[in-house]
Symmetry: C2
Subunit: 301 residues, 2 copies
Amino acid sequence: MEQYEPNDLLIFARVAEAGSFSRAAERLGLPKSTVSRRISVLEDRLGERLMLRTTRRLALTEFGNQLLEHARQVAAEVDAVKALSEYRRAQPSGRLRVSMPSDFATLLLTDMLAAFVALHPAVSLELDLSPRRVDLIGENFDLVVRMGDLPDDAMLAARRIAVFPSGLYAAPGYLAEHGNPVAPDDLHQHDALLLLGRNSEAVGWTLLCGEQRWEGLPPARASANSPELLISLARAGAGIAAVPDYFAAPNVRRGELVRVLPDWRTPSHTAWLVFPGRRLMPAKTRAFINMVETAFTNVDG
Amino acid sequence: MEQYEPNDLLIFARVAEAGSFSRAAERLGLPKSTVSRRISVLEDRLGERLMLRTTRRLALTEFGNQLLEHARQVAAEVDAVKALSEYRRAQPSGRLRVSMPSDFATLLLTDMLAAFVALHPAVSLELDLSPRRVDLIGENFDLVVRMGDLPDDAMLAARRIAVFPSGLYAAPGYLAEHGNPVAPDDLHQHDALLLLGRNSEAVGWTLLCGEQRWEGLPPARASANSPELLISLARAGAGIAAVPDYFAAPNVRRGELVRVLPDWRTPSHTAWLVFPGRRLMPAKTRAFINMVETAFTNVDG
DNA sequence: TCATATTGTTCCATTTGCAGAACAATGTTA
DNA sequence: TAACATTGTTCTGCAAATGGAACAATATGA
């Protein structure tokens, strides 16, 4: 430790306050022998006596009085920290920064988010719905929802919150220009919008239809690392994308996307809730995770 | 220790300030392993993480930021204590409360006291010259000059500063009324002013004249526990007192006292410098003691 | 005045916490 | 891209701090 241990300053403050080693020891939950020794050590380090102790009375030295001013402040800060910690333990509080795809928020979590805000008035929720892939630690996010791949970062933990059935989608304009595939092999003549995997490598397509299985890597017109971006690209007519049905649905309804090879489906996409470590989680984070999970177990078991 | 160790708050503050465990460890003079462990312990005690640490970057949690406010304050107090202590070590300073017989101050120490005040401008000297026997600890005295007996108190330490030859003295008026003794045995017909010893028991007289020795306990007209009081009583004509020649001298010069049995002397009186403990002495006290001792070695080596 | 209760200090077996090195993770540079 | 440098964490023998009991000192009360 440095030279003057604040621990001993705390003990000194408590002793001065209690006016007795024994009472201070009792309040501190320490044996009086330790209190006595710590004060002695402190005095040795400071090079001067702090209190003159008869077995009956305790008198502060002039220097002791000077020091007490500082020691009191240390004790006050310790009390403040204790209060702060207990408050935090009791109820979720503070800023909670969450990033998720905007589709995810609007389509799936609006009710849950509203309920969360209502239930935890001490939490101020900050939602980031930008499509970019945020830096969880660097930008101080508590939680991030990721689709598709989960980052293999030792500092991060993740929890699977939902699995979405997926299929191929494209814009009507694109299909009008390039033709509408009728069998998987037709895809080789099409522009594919591919999802980038963990190592920024394009992942090929796997198509399933009952027991049938087709695999291939069509020419990539563009690639991105999140399904949401693929949907945007497909809507703009850039090609065919394999994305979750649930997220394509609103676009289909608006006529901006149509299903390609409707008999075939692509492997399901997984949504992950990513957060930094799992060693000690703030109450606010724990509360949010729980609420997200119950929201999904209620929806699709 | 209590629950939240201020030591760990200090370490936390240093880490946050340095922005790195290694640098903080270096500044604290601790191995980085200790810094790492202490932060972990603190987080466990608080039940929440304070900082998210990549090997390259360090990001404070929202809670960490809240806590930092308090931790900084602790660190500031520690710095203040360090500065205070170093200032104290360097030069004597603060109040120095000293009690001594007024005769002692005026007859023997005026020059020395003036020199002390001049040499140590940061010390404010408070002299108590009251004849009463002060309570060293209870009244917050740093030093007390005592004549005759030294208190046998385990909490106190004492140093012998001077030995004063003594004899019998009385007021001319008293001798005119009761007669002037010519031999020691005549004293049994006189009123004696006796010095009270350690246990408030009157101490008998011992007279010396060359090789001759006389002992006796004349009837006590009054008794006191300090030679100064005996002088006052003798001057008032209350009887004969055995007191230091040096302190009787001014009264003799003024004709208020005369030597009784001038061939005989009484055992020397000793002056003691009493102070609380000797374990850790304030610089101001040490400086005063040194100056008193040199003053006396220069006078009567 | 003597017994009692309470205080601060000292002692020593036990345990805690430390220091240093090895390790794992992650940027950096050639 | 591969060797390197630097960071935070983990491990382990060992030293230092702890805490309960015995002790010494001192008010208090009968």
